[in-house]
Subunit: 329 residues, 2 copies
Amino acid sequence: MKKLINDVDTLLDESLSGFAKAHADIIQLSSQPHFVRRLQAKTSGKVVLISGGGSGHEPLHTGFVGLGMLDAACPGQIFTSPTPDQMLAAAQALENDAGVLFIVKNYAGDVMSFEIAAEMLDYPNATVLVSDDVSLDKNHSTGRRGVAGTLIVEKMLGAAAENGADLAFCKSLGDRINQHTASMGVALTSCTVPALGKPTFHLDDNQIEMGVGIHGEHGRETVGLMVATDIVERLLITITDGLQLKPGQQVLLHVNGFGATPLMELYLIYDLASQFLQKLGLSIVRSLVGNYTTSLDMAGCSLTLTIVDDELIRLWDAPVHTASLRWGC
Amino acid sequence: MKKLINDVDTLLDESLSGFAKAHADIIQLSSQPHFVRRLQAKTSGKVVLISGGGSGHEPLHTGFVGLGMLDAACPGQIFTSPTPDQMLAAAQALENDAGVLFIVKNYAGDVMSFEIAAEMLDYPNATVLVSDDVSLDKNHSTGRRGVAGTLIVEKMLGAAAENGADLAFCKSLGDRINQHTASMGVALTSCTVPALGKPTFHLDDNQIEMGVGIHGEHGRETVGLMVATDIVERLLITITDGLQLKPGQQVLLHVNGFGATPLMELYLIYDLASQFLQKLGLSIVRSLVGNYTTSLDMAGCSLTLTIVDDELIRLWDAPVHTASLRWGC
């Protein structure tokens, strides 16, 4: 294993320290327990948005803390859920009269930690569970996983909260965005978790993993390498079926790289995806292409669609100023 | 070789097509010959900035076309220089009364192509040659290579040109920024050029390449894997020597990933670099961390320092609206 690190045990601390120094104009790092909080948080009338999860998916979530998006992010160790004291400390540091909303990717450990933190909070709070990974069946025993669609939930909810929407509205909006969002990914290679020191899973030189999770979880099926057009078609058939899309609908298309995928390839995937969606009579009204919800050094990508209306488009377009997503200010 | 592509021969076209669709609000793709041009280019009083080079380094250069940065970028095939007709067509499409400035990374093929294009232009033009790679000796036979510092030259020159600086001023400013910029990289793995189908160079499991070029060129030396602190120290000793930095000086620090390096590692490198520079009495006044000048799927990073004064800081901070660098608007 070759990594730009000093020691597996100090990797997260050193990385967060660098992140905090590089973006000292936007965020602040609190330690013991760790959370990244927005500078200049509002002290009244704004629902506090807190997310978090295992590290290794950067820029998700720490890179999305700032004006118009998250108020705080709680990073666990790599691919490991954060602990309830992190969310509790973040909530206590940022709470105001409008309440706290947790945005949680649907993984058992994350859900449990956020639930415990929610129970310990003595002021109004709610949780939006993100479960956009349609590679798993809707009735899967633990539900669908939260993957790259999380960014879209965080961006749109961030705009609503910034505009003063109340807790009930934000909770309902978050659930609606999640229901209107579907993602599916494909891996060309495994990632290597530093503490493990070797690839998480094995793929032959001519194999790819369809429906892979963002921790390298086994997906729908391991299949032979195919051309990009066929990969995109397989992903989008599942996604559009999952959303029951109809001609004429407007969508946001997010092509996400898993960390080791050249931007050239992601744009090629975008081209093919837009052709496929156009044939279905769908209208791509907003786009995002890049490495946003990563799996360390995994090669591959995911596609995410969100059905949008004028309200969601306005929330997407609203100003955002974070380390990794910035426009309008 | 596993890539998200259809065919090696159509990869660039399909990728550019996707790029143009995803960013239709900022740029436009012209074909035969290929160049990416800014929408809403000024028709008078603004020096036209044109760069280009082999593809595979995305987002450089196409991702930097837009308000406050480049007016056009001319992409060659992967790791292959663009041809003079591309720069000529871009210049002719965008020219106005203020003249044209080429920003060229110092590679023989790029230099030759841009020189031919310059000779064919019948209106005022100049060229800024970027040669920031201090892993090579200053007196190297072909001069130093242009690497990640190119982004800094393009950003600052873009702001100056947007503000109405004339051609002579832009040329002189570009040369000054280049002289005040130094970079050096390290590779953990090779990249794989699609047309070649196998890694460009070989590194053992315990080896890294110090001073690697952005096409995987052999660098200063192949050395054993070392901890990140030692890697950063080696890179920064060469860089700070190259710039003859003195305590008290202000610098911009750019940590650039080569494409397959997790953001966690880049921020860790930033942390170590900032500690090292602080010990030297240097002041980091601006930062940029991310995958900006990539080498397809190479793992590793480069460090770039630019000595800045108030003028250069203002140019760095000025509004920019491109596909991959955006702030202030």
